[in-house]
């Protein structure tokens, strides 16, 4: 089984990183795009698990350190190189354009969580008012962060106690300023909790036309 981590540009060397199950990583070059892959005799090795997800991520992050990457959704597995090539060939143009667009950019994740109050709300009305207020705070957080970002995307529905699940595309040089702004917002909005993760590879910002989603 061939497991694909990311699409990038062909380069003489790959970073010193191991793939899932400690397998070596290699490039399959198709035109001006290189798929970074690992090969597994046993398909069970590339099954989804917390460990394999982190291993996949580690490879993409290592690549991201010194080249443009389009992270591939976990599970892009093929039986043979030919099938992988056949999948990439029809969209090489879009993939190359997307690599150029995302070069030098990383993704930051910001979640806003409800911070529970010391005392329970006095009534259902108070509870609802509190929620509405917290949602407004989350909206302010998003608006400010979106201003700093090149692009942003928000998960459609708040899940559980997440008031905001936002992804922000920023230039690599802008990460420190973005993180500093998150700190400032956290201080300004003590009623909610902000958690920032990243820098991630730009998973949320690959072009649907190149990514295969629209196909």
């Amino acid at each position: 089984v061939i497991h694909v981590y990311a699409l990038t540009e062909p380069a003489p060397e790959l970073p010193d990183v191991q793939g899932i199950a400690n397998r070596p990583v290699a490039q399959v070059v198709v035109g001006r795009v290189a798929a970074v892959v690992s090969r597994h005799a046993n398909a069970a090795e590339v099954e989804v698990s917390e460990e394999s997800l982190w291993a996949h991520e580690a490879v993409v992050e290592a690549l991201m350190a010194d080249r443009a990457v389009l992270p591939v959704r976990f599970g892009g597995d093929f039986d043979e190189d030919e099938a992988l090539r056949a999948d990439l060939e029809p969209r090489l143009g879009e993939l190359e354009r997307d690599l150029a667009r995302l070069r030098g950019h990383v993704e930051l994740g910001v979640r806003v969580l409800v911070r529970e109050r010391a005392e329970a709300p006095a009534s259902g009305r108070d509870y609802l008012l509190g929620r509405a207020e917290a949602r407004a705070r989350a909206g302010r957080v998003h608006d400010r962060l979106a201003e700093l970002a090149v692009d942003s995307s928000v998960a459609p529905a708040a899940r559980g106690d997440f008031l905001l699940t936002g992804s922000y595309l920023v230039e690599r040089d802008g990460v420190a300023a973005f993180a500093a702004e998150v700190e400032r917002l956290a201080a300004d909005e003590p009623e909610v909790e902000l958690v920032c993760t990243g820098p991630w590879p730009p998973y949320s910002f690959v072009d649907p036309a190149a990514s295969g989603v629209a196909a």
Binding site: V4, E50, P71, R73, G76, L84, G160
Partner: protein, 64 residues
């Protein structure tokens, strides 16, 4: 301590959301059984749910 805990769990939720829900989709993806994804979502569900109950963790940490 609770903040670190929150960060770790949120990082895991962020990881799952991104790797299983975003990124370039390759045709080989269809070989990933939907059931596999569901299993991961189920096994990680406790972690996701507990992000929303940080207060409990905070209380537990405080009780130590």
């Amino acid at each position: 301590v609770s903040t670190d805990l929150a960060q770790h769990r949120v990082a895991l939720v962020d990881l799952v959301d991104r790797l299983l829900g975003k990124g370039v989709v390759l045709a080989g993806d269809i070989t990933l059984a939907v059931a596999d994804v569901d299993l991961v979502r189920i096994s990680l569900r406790a972690l996701i749910a507990s992000v929303g109950s940080l207060e409990e963790d905070r209380d537990r940490e405080a009780a130590r």
